[in-house]
Symmetry: C2
Subunit: 232 residues, 2 copies
């Protein structure tokens, strides 16, 4: 018999490797999880199906998908019709790529903060990592620390003394280490989705930054990649 969780957390769940592993770690630490996903006009909406599969596998208390239209502002190849870059050499210094979505993690964490307050939860989990992270500014520890600082001044809960803690269990892990961690916790990565530009039938392109990082991670972890690539 499994004991009911005595502590609860909110996890941001995209359906990719990182957020799925982050959720698995939080569950293994005994948190009852409330998973939050966003339908934000991303061209790879198939990732929301992956988020549902992961939420089920991890065993969350509740999974909510919030609709927000980040396309209204534009500014990213992930939410527009402009091309997702392919076959880039990620070992070279390439700056912040066009797949960066302006203020995405800030917006996602803000919604998590609102839900946390309603649920009376102080622990938020986000699967950002500062290594193998594709150069996004809102994945860095200094951003997370600043958000936590702000969050503790933002809400009624914080004013009344219920401190917000943002957990980033993957922050210092390479993609290979993340995959080994998830595998050791029994996470089936066949349920996750990474590709920014999947085919109509849901196969990964194998060439976008996210596919390149994923493939390399499985190779370095020495674990078989369950991804179905469209080119195979």
């Amino acid at each position: 018999m499994t004991a009911a969780p005595t502590k609860n957390g909110i996890v941001l769940l995209s359906g990719g490797i990182d957020s799925a592993t982050c959720a698995s770690i939080a569950r293994a630490e005994g948190y009852g999880l409330y998973a939050l996903s966003f339908s934000y006009g991303q061209r790879h909406r198939v990732e929301l199906e992956a988020a549902k599969r992961v939420a089920e596998a991890v065993g969350v208390v509740e999974h909510r998908i919030v609709e927000i239209d980040l396309r209204a502002f534009g500014g990213s190849s992930l939410t527009s019709l402009s091309a997702v870059p392919k076959n880039r050499d990620l070992s070279a210094e390439t700056g912040i790529p066009s797949t960066y979505v302006p203020a995405r993690n800030t917006i996602f964490l803000s919604f998590a903060l609102g839900w946390a307050e309603v649920l009376g939860i102080g622990d938020l989990f986000i699967g950002v990592n500062a290594i193998d992270y594709s150069g996004y500014p809102d994945c860095r520890p200094e951003f997370i620390n600043a958000f936590q600082e702000m969050a503790n001044l933002a809400t009624k809960a914080a004013v009344e003394g219920r401190r917000i803690v943002i957990h980033t269990p993957l922050i210092d892990l390479t993609k290979a280490a993340i995959i080994r961690t998830g595998a050791s916790l029994g996470l089936d990565y066949g349920r996750t989705h990474s590709c920014y530009d999947p085919t109509a039938d849901g196969f990964a392109c194998g060439a976008c930054d996210s596919c390149i990082i994923r493939r390399k991670g499985f190779i370095e972890a020495g674990i078989e990649d369950p991804t179905r690539y469209g080119s195979e």
Copy 2:
């Protein structure tokens, strides 16, 4: 002939007295304004009509209304069917009221930050004030400062050196001082809306916190209140 604005800003525009005055001040300082409003499931959606009227009067470059569903989380009498408190004695110590919407300003500012990055704008205006503010934690200067700190770590623009500044021209003003300032700039407060619980035909209730603060502000400013109250 009016010179074209040489600097631009984003203003959060609810349609109430504070955001309308904030927008007027920013215009008077020479900013070209991009106004951002939210349809967030608020029961007083008539305020969005006020936001449109104010945007037109102030003369903004563009006005966008973003749909987000804060009702999904609940937690506030402003976005649910629970009653808006009426006829409270606001001079007494009453704590944070049920009309507080969890993380609202955090979420609104996060969207503004995303739009700012897309537009290449560094100046955000928000009409919060720490006096006569109905007790919301996310209207305090320490919250605004922490958000600005976080914002400057969150975005590609900030990483590349375009600093985000959050302007709060009303932060130290009483409601009466705000109204006098707007009136001196020619703002027609008949275009604004404050009531949390208006009648079906758009009249103000005269009894919610927002109506009480508004009424008191006009009296103290010695300026006639153009509001149409349903009880009259």
